[in-house]
Symmetry: C2
Amino acid sequence: MEWEAIQNRLNTLLENGRHGELRGAMMMLNEVDIAQYMETLDKDKLLLMFRILPKDISADVFSYMSAEQKQTLIESIGDNEIRALIDDMFLDDAVDFLEELPASVVKRVLQTADPEKRNLINQFLRYPENSAGSLMTIEYLEFHGEDTVRQAMELIRKEGLDKETIYTLYIIDSTHHLIGTLPLRKMILASEDTVLSSIMERNPVSVCTTDDQEKVAELVRRYDLYAIPVVDKEDRLVGIITADDVMDVIEEETTEDFEKMAALTPSDDEYLKTSPFKLALNRIPWLLVMAIIAIFTGLIITKYEDVLQATGSVGIILTSCIPMLMDTGGNCGAQSSTLIIRGLSLGQITLKDFFKALWKEFRVAIIVGAVLFIFTFLRVMYVNPLFMENGTGITWQVALVVSAALFCTIMLAKALGCAMPMLAKRLGLDPALMASPMITTVVDMSSLFIYFNIAKMVLHL
Amino acid sequence: MEWEAIQNRLNTLLENGRHGELRGAMMMLNEVDIAQYMETLDKDKLLLMFRILPKDISADVFSYMSAEQKQTLIESIGDNEIRALIDDMFLDDAVDFLEELPASVVKRVLQTADPEKRNLINQFLRYPENSAGSLMTIEYLEFHGEDTVRQAMELIRKEGLDKETIYTLYIIDSTHHLIGTLPLRKMILASEDTVLSSIMERNPVSVCTTDDQEKVAELVRRYDLYAIPVVDKEDRLVGIITADDVMDVIEEETTEDFEKMAALTPSDDEYLKTSPFKLALNRIPWLLVMAIIAIFTGLIITKYEDVLQATGSVGIILTSCIPMLMDTGGNCGAQSSTLIIRGLSLGQITLKDFFKALWKEFRVAIIVGAVLFIFTFLRVMYVNPLFMENGTGITWQVALVVSAALFCTIMLAKALGCAMPMLAKRLGLDPALMASPMITTVVDMSSLFIYFNIAKMVLHL
């Protein structure tokens, strides 16, 4: 059935107060879809719907709801309901949810949780945001090297239900250090009396609680893991991070890169749910910074006004080529910086490759520059005169000035587009900040400077 | 141990011909790392190393090698070795690998494979590139609804070793239609005599062989799946796609978006491994397209030359503000288009939201425009004169012209930045094509047109 048809039926049931049928319908749907449906409801209906939900899936549905709807709901339900909800949620989902709430609501929620859970949540809330510690869950199973396959299966049958994954077994020694992992599939294929230490994989890939989520994502992607173990500073196993949470991290980090590359202050909010005021606030600072830099670009023009006011049509031709020069420079810089930024973030390029990348960009710039040099020379010589009342001023020297300046601009734009993101990374900044808008602004200034000086030299202005 | 230290030791062992120790060292390493190490070797050493590799991991290591190294290797080894390699690889990895090779090599590889495998590979090679069919693997286990847990466990023990995942059981009816899925964890917790149909999840999420990989990625991300079943047009189960392959797809699609947004022809090659000529070829077409559009921007300037040559310092002030106007317009457009493109690709914005998004951008543009209007007005009035020898021409009317044109440009840039990606999507094009470079070029032209007309009106030129 189409999603719209499903929505319509649910709406009808809800409006006619047919709660039994509604609950039955819910049982047939996926938690993600129910959460999406609940996004469309107003406060009263949301609350009603939440109470109709089969109890065993309400915590799951809740985890998939948006931060706004979660908060609306929390503010409407009683302490007992909150407590039940928090107790049913996986710890990492509960922590994520609390991190999104205002402090006052967090306080209320924590007061209602049972003391043990509260302690755990508090501990998790202390991990730095975006660290492996804040992402991990403690719902995993621990085993010892001397356990047999039979014992391990018993433990899984007994306690596996509440764990986020049972597909990797984490094996620790008596001091709680992680000594190996064992994929469940490998264990199932082994005989019942095998001890785990004889079939486990030693030296498992792991991360530390304080590692950044970017590192977590890189390792999971690199080693195709379903889950990665998290250890503390003393190398003791304290949690795991599952692949589905890592996918969300990758998505978030990528969106941040896109935003920084477009001169936006990164934000976790969904576009359609963010107020115009907040959106404007994310955009204005960078626009102002770049408008300030553009003042200097303008000053260069004022400084060389004699060039632009050259006699005949030369001045106007030179002026009319400014947009082309600026745009091409900006676009060339953006092409290089995007490839470098993406390469850095996927780990395909490292800082050690600085000169290798620069040398590559240098060669690319020569090819691209040559093609555009020829195009522009011909264009100024033969196309521009067609559109001018008085095209007599256009000599091959003028065409040479424009195309030579363009060539230099391309060389410079490619070099800066390659070097600036890498220098940013070297300085501990995010390379994505050195993307198109920043490069464009810097290239503009330099290219006009080059342009006017070439004009002065060649045309003796 | 640090990666560099590991590499050095392996190099020493390799150079001294200590093959036994080298093989032992390999056994301690992860396949991904071994493949990475092999990237650094020349042809002879690569071949030597490959033959030293423990046989049971050589196919895995091979899957993780780069296309270039794979081809080098294939061209050096004998038919029997190729055959053993292909037979040991998972089918989807083998198909991926063959898709990267030149036709002549593919022919040789297929001739050596056993007939059954060859048929399967041929069938897979016929699925359109980037379709679910070309991504899927057939190494999964099928069960019937009337099977008991005991029977299912037996089948898993017997055949699970060669399957890509055994963590989800796919349950079919007598006509091979997919009727349900069952997470292994749920089955392990059930008693041995339970029949699968009583505990399976009905209406499983699935994709069709012809569905695009973007849809696959969206569903896996949305429903947090470890693997998604693939059905043919008659709804019969034909394969599965695992989450690790989906992560690669997401990474690839995102990189494509980045590339298109920077006016690059998307390419699957790693930056450092691509020749300067190929890189230049990916960049030149769009640069030329935009250079051609910029001709018209230049023509607008020629058309209004009287405005820029206005008496006193008015003409030069107006000229000097062109870069600021163009840059701010481009940046504003890029901000909007990036948010819209990203929102569209994450499914947070749909075409139905067109007017909602436009109305939001309209309000954002008014706020951003107002702030930059004030900034620019003050700047032209009070900052510019400081840097000019003859600043007498700067009246409040000139400042008004510049800031009013900027305000209009921002309104236009935001509207186009929002509308163009959505229109592209409506027309079946990729929204990412309508990113910063394209928007900048279009906004430039319109903003200069607005600028000169406001100047003519207000300053009576």
